[in-house]
């Protein structure tokens, strides 16, 4: 390689139809050198990474959203088109396009290559999943394809070490193309689309491309998975197994984290002299942030299942099964994937609604996404279930798991009800078509799962480390000052700022069964749901007369709350929009305050009504 090639940083863009393994290839090339942000002015996720070739040349790689063509049907596809054409503000046009094609489905993939080629852009074709193609008996002649396309074609295996080697080699020996401006473009006519399809099929014919018959096992699997009755049973079983696993697998790591936090608290108690600093560290930092950290295993297990289901190709099939059901409330089956992501966290879920083409469908999905039980509710649910529901088995079913499942179910049912109301009133929309690809099944790649989980863990730990920790310290201050008057007979926190706010709120919340401790915990819990657990920890460890900061929270609340109060708080948490991040992302995604304010108002109203009804009914039943 000449010296000038090593100097310049080459800007690449990855383009490909959905499910071609593009993101896996992006992970393969860039590893952990990734930066996730948004495109300027729009809300499409922008993923960029860097890597260095064997020649020493540096690359900057943009992972564009999956697109079937340059004629967009969604915001994601419009971004891909504009980025390719160099029409995005603040985004220099890519110097080389890497078009990723699935070697096991060239019939679907090749047309996009021809469409990009017609633009006259420097283009490299990456024949991805070429290992699967070979193993399953596809006949793909790389050299003949390169000749017919008149483009460099390389084989890649995104999921194997060294699988992008040939691609990097091909990029290394390319000259840096001269700078260019935005390209002129017009959407092709239907006749032109058919022409490129025919050309793609001609090329596949003359290069001897042959597909083997589909594996019988996969076809058999689809007859069960896509069956209207058996498929729904499979879906219910999968979701139920996930929620059971979240509770049972996480038990051991959670105990370990819990023990570690207690140990740290005891150690600090032993080495530090009594005073405000020790109180801050033990009661604020350790017991506050620690009681949230303990739920990391559950959150990771839930994300692991969602990532694995996504990669395996099962999620779009679930969307197909549920389209009718969701159509009944006016939503598209496509809303299923954003809503499922919202079970982990509403923020990525709301961002995933960008793949819903119809604006009103998208707004309805955004408004109900917070009703999906996100992982931030898990700490609260886990605490209350652990404290009030006996860990008994009814046959093969764990009673605590069953209650958790019911809470998730309540969220889903109310989301469907809200959507039905919205789609019949404020967000009535004209018909929008469903054309959903159900991709081939794939074993999830451990490396992709690991990178995905790492991203999630980082986000969660960053929240614990920053927002939550800061809130815990503020709460500790509010709960410690001012000091109680001499001769006070209530716990010190009762006289603090937090106690004052809590007692004021209690007037409003007493009718739904909340005591002043809960009311206090809800104050910081307005910023982020899981903070309420830490806040309860602080409230109770501070209000306890002895100095047992590390005492477990569950037995304390089990001893001091009625069952009706616990159920009312669970009902409150099914609805209450206690997450600043969600409200912020809704504002960003909808471009104004209208939707976030409407969402916050209706969710608080539902939360209050649900908690009130639950409390009164539970009292009437003697709880």
């Amino acid at each position: 390689m000449s010296a000038h090639a090593a100097d310049a940083e080459l800007r690449l863009a990855l383009v490909g139809v959905p499910n071609c393994g593009k993101t896996a290839l992006f992970n393969r090339l860039t590893g952990s050198h990734q930066k996730v942000a948004n495109y300027a002015g729009v809300t499409v996720e922008r993923k960029e990474g860097r890597f260095t070739g064997a020649s020493g040349r540096r690359y900057r790689l943009l992972d564009l959203p999956g697109a079937y063509s340059l004629t967009p049907t969604s915001l994601d596809e419009a971004i891909t088109r504009d980025a390719v054409l160099g029409r995005l503000a603040g985004e220099p046009p890519p110097e080389v396009i890497v078009c990723v094609v699935d070697a096991t489905n060239l019939r679907l993939n090749l047309r996009l290559v021809l469409e990009l080629k017609a633009l006259g852009l420097p283009l490299v074709v990456a024949l991805n999943m070429s290992d699967i193609a070979r193993a399953r008996g596809y006949h793909v002649d790389r050299q003949a394809l390169a000749r017919e396309l008149d483009l460099p074609v390389v084989e890649t295996v995104a999921v194997a070490a060294g699988g992008a080697h040939a691609l990097v080699e091909a990029l290394d020996c390319r000259e840096v193309p001269p700078p260019r401006g935005a390209l002129p473009y017009r959407d092709p006519t239907p006749v032109e689309v058919v022409d490129t399809q025919r050309e793609a099929r001609r090329i596949l014919g003359v290069t001897g491309y042959r597909e083997p018959a589909r594996q019988r096992a996969l076809t058999l699997l689809d007859t069960v998975v896509l069956h209207p009755a058996a498929g729904l049973a499979v879906l219910a079983a999968v979701l139920f197994a996930v929620f059971q696993a979240v509770f049972s697998w996480a038990a051991i790591p959670m105990d370990l984290i819990d023990a570690g936090i207690s140990r740290a608290g005891e150690w600090l108690l032993a080495v530090l002299p009594a005073g405000p600093l020790r109180s801050l560290l033990v009661d604020g930092v350790i017991s506050g942030a620690g009681s949230v950290l303990v739920f990391l295993p559950q959150i990771l297990i839930l994300f692991l299942f969602i990532l694995a289901l996504e990669e395996s190709g099962y999620l779009p099939r679930a969307a197909y099964l549920l389209d009718r059901l969701m159509g009944g409330v006016g939503l598209s089956g496509r809303a299923f994937i954003p809503l499922l992501s919202s079970f982990a966290c509403a923020v990525p879920g709301i961002m995933a609604t960008r793949t819903i083409p119809n604006v009103r469908d998208r707004m309805a999905t955004i408004l109900i996404a917070p009703l999906m039980t996100c992982s931030a509710r898990l700490p609260v649910y886990a605490l209350l279930i652990g404290a009030f529901i006996p860990a008994r088995d009814i046959g093969p079913i764990n009673l605590q798991g069953l209650v958790l499942f019911c809470l998730y179910f309540a969220g889903v049912i109310s989301a469907l009800a809200v959507a039905a109301v919205l789609k019949r009133t404020a967000l009535k929309a004209s018909y929008h078509p469903l054309l959903l690809e159900l991709p081939e099944y794939h074993w999830p790649s451990p490396r992709n799962l690991a990178i995905g989980l790492w991203e999630r863990a980082r986000v969660f730990l960053r929240r614990v480390g920053t927002i939550i920790l800061a809130l815990m310290v503020v709460l500790w201050f509010l709960s410690s000052y001012p000091a109680p008057p001499p001769g006070a007979d209530m716990p010190p926190i009762y006289y603090s700022f937090a106690g004052m706010i809590g007692r004021a709120l209690e007037v409003l919340l007493a009718p739904v069964g909340f005591n002043w401790q809960i009311s206090i915990a809800l104050v910081p819990g307005l910023a982020a749901r899981e903070v309420a657990v830490g806040a309860l920890g602080t409230v109770y460890s501070l209000s306890a007369t002895d100095d047992s900061a590390a005492a477990a929270l569950a037995p304390i609340i089990a001893g001091s709350w009625s069952l009706a109060t616990a159920f009312a708080l669970l009902a409150w948490y099914v609805f209450a929009p206690q997450c600043l991040a969600t409200i912020a992302v809704v504002k960003r995604e909808t471009g104004g305050w209208r939707y976030p304010l409407a969402m916050t108002a209706y969710l608080f109203a539902l939360a209050y009504v649900a908690a009130f009804v639950t409390y009164r009914v539970a009292l009437a039943l003697g709880a």
Binding site: Y68, T104, R107, L108, P228, P316, Y431, L435, L438
Partner: protein
């Protein structure tokens, strides 16, 4: 009445939405659905159907449908599998191929 059974190849064009699970067919053309779907929806739908490979001469097979009323349906086209609702499937005109298996 010399031919008791009419030749299967002469079967007329039907909408993809009319096929049963297990039916195989060949795409003939896209129906003009301006009236049933509206101009804008029709043209984006038609464009996307063509991009996905629903072009004349392409073999398709209905591999699944959701009760009641077979909506949506799952259609295999080459190595791809697509879910589409009856209204989308009504825009694709096909001719049945051989006896349904």
């Amino acid at each position: 009445m010399t031919h008791a059974v009419p030749p299967r190849t002469a079967s007329p064009e039907v909408a993809l939405a009319e096929l049963k699970v297990g039916d195989r067919a060949v795409v003939l053309r896209l129906r003009d659905s301006h009236e049933s779907l509206g101009d804008e929806v029709h043209s984006t739908l038609a464009q996307r159907l063509l991009e996905l490979g629903f072009i004349p001469g392409e073999p398709v097979e209905v591999v699944g449908s959701i009760w009641p009323g077979a909506d949506p349906i799952a259609v295999r086209l080459g190595r791809s599998l697509f879910a589409l609702r009856r209204r989308e499937a009504a825009a694709v005109l096909v001719t049945r191929e051989g006896a349904s298996s």
